[in-house]
């Protein structure tokens, strides 16, 4: 370190120095400028030109998110909003469906559908008994535990209780399908389809019925019907509990009207089989079967 006396101030001007003995130099790049450009170009090709405008501002982004959230939220609400209508015992409920169709629910019946999603999902869930009057061109499907009925513009009645499923077609056509067997049938007016416990479909002809011969006017007609089902109907229509202690393996044919008192109706049915009933309390009857 003996050459400390160099004056740094002058050197930049003169440069008569050792550095001049060095040849010109370059940086030994491993990648050429073109290579770098090509890999950059791949990336910028994916870049949308409109980027700067579209999601530039925070507010815009925030409001886009809010709009999406709102859309998803309201779609979910529309999709899952369910209207449920139930009828109690001894009650008949009238109800209007979307697009002007009407339903009449017999006692103890439940119906569910998504009114706000009706455009996309025309399905109604129903258990109990209901009469449908469908306005023209309005197509939908009624789903119950063991059967589905697709409306093709018409009036019809569905009975779906305790595994029994019966559809009566009054006017127009309906398609009835069995949930368990997958069988399908198209019903014409005055035909009745029933699905048995194994899921098999049967179609029977029915005499034409007017409204005053059916539950809608408080008239109940039974043809070869298990008596337990008759008692069930009576208890529904009058809001009573009817207890049958044993399995009653009896078949009943006859009718009753809601204009009658429950006592009259019970008498009518029981007399036919020689069985008896006693009043257990205000709203309960017990069936008594005599040993002989």
């Amino acid at each position: 370190m003996t050459k400390d006396e160099r004056n740094t101030g002058n050197n930049s001007v003169r440069r008569p120095d050792i550095l001049d003995r060095l040849p010109q130099s370059r940086i030994p790049w491993k990648r050429s400028k073109e290579e770098v450009w090509n890999s950059l170009k791949n990336n910028i090709d994916e870049q949308p030109e409109a980027r700067k405008i579209s999601f530039g501002s925070y507010i815009l982004r925030l409001s886009a998110a809010a709009v999406i959230l709102l859309l998803v939220g309201s779609a979910a609400f529309m999709r899952f909003y369910t209207r449920t209508v139930t009828s109690q015992s001894a009650e008949v409920v009238n109800l209007e469906l979307p697009r002007g169709s009407e339903v009449m629910l017999n006692a103890e019946t439940i119906i569910k559908y998504n009114p706000l999603w009706w455009k996309f999902n025309r399905k109604i869930r129903m258990e109990g008994e209901a009469y449908f009057e469908v306005s023209k061109g309005n197509e939908f499907t009624v789903i119950s535990e063991s059967g589905t009925t697709t409306v093709l513009g018409t009036t019809f009645n569905i009975y779906s209780r305790k595994g029994d499923y019966e559809v009566s077609c009054y006017t127009g056509k309906v398609r009835v399908g069995s949930v368990n067997s997958g069988e399908e049938v198209i019903l014409e007016p005055n035909q009745k389809a029933s699905i048995d416990e194994e899921g098999y479909l049967a179609v029977n002809e029915e005499p034409p019925r007017s409204i005053n011969q059916d539950w809608r006017s408080g008239y109940f007609k039974f043809t070869s019907m298990p008596v337990t089902r008759v008692f069930d109907e009576i208890s529904r229509q009058f809001g009573f509990t009817i207890k049958a202690t044993e399995n009653l393996d009896l078949i009943y044919t006859g009718n009753f009207s809601k204009d009658q008192s429950i006592e009259e109706v019970m008498n009518l049915v029981c007399k036919a089989f020689g069985i008896d009933f006693v009043s257990e309390d205000e709203n309960t009857y017990r069936i008594i079967v005599n040993a002989n």
Binding site: K3, R6, P23, Q24, I27, K30
Partner: protein, 163 residues
Amino acid sequence: MTQEEFKGLFDKYFDSIRSYIYYRCGDTELATDIAQEVFMQVWEKQFEIQNGKIKSLLYKMSGDLFISRYRRKELEHRYLNSIELDYLEESPEEQAQLKELITKYEKSLAGLPENQRDVFLMSRNEGLKYSEIAERLNISIKAVEKRMNKALSYLREALEYKG
């Protein structure tokens, strides 16, 4: 910024940007990566091109990126041993002597403080005027002169020693 404008910017400045980073770190790959990333950012952020301003912005961006990257790299190889360069062949020196001189030179460059080395090499390798260097690095011409003088005296001393 259209693709053509971007390409123009790249053609004009890419070389000097990555050289600048190389002068600071002596690692060609790191310098290339950083320069590439700087241009990617320029495209993504869609800077308005106002000539003059963009130039010093590019240096600023690459310098910042280098510092954040270098902190990581620094741990891997702590010491910068030499700044490697390729040399053009015409030289009055004899091969053996020249080789020795070059080795010394490259080692000495590595021994320079970063802010002297980049100024010195921008001037020497790229032939930039002090005023141009000052503009790019956004420092005063006086500062450039000062760093140049320090670098020169250090290098001369290092090369002449025993040489």
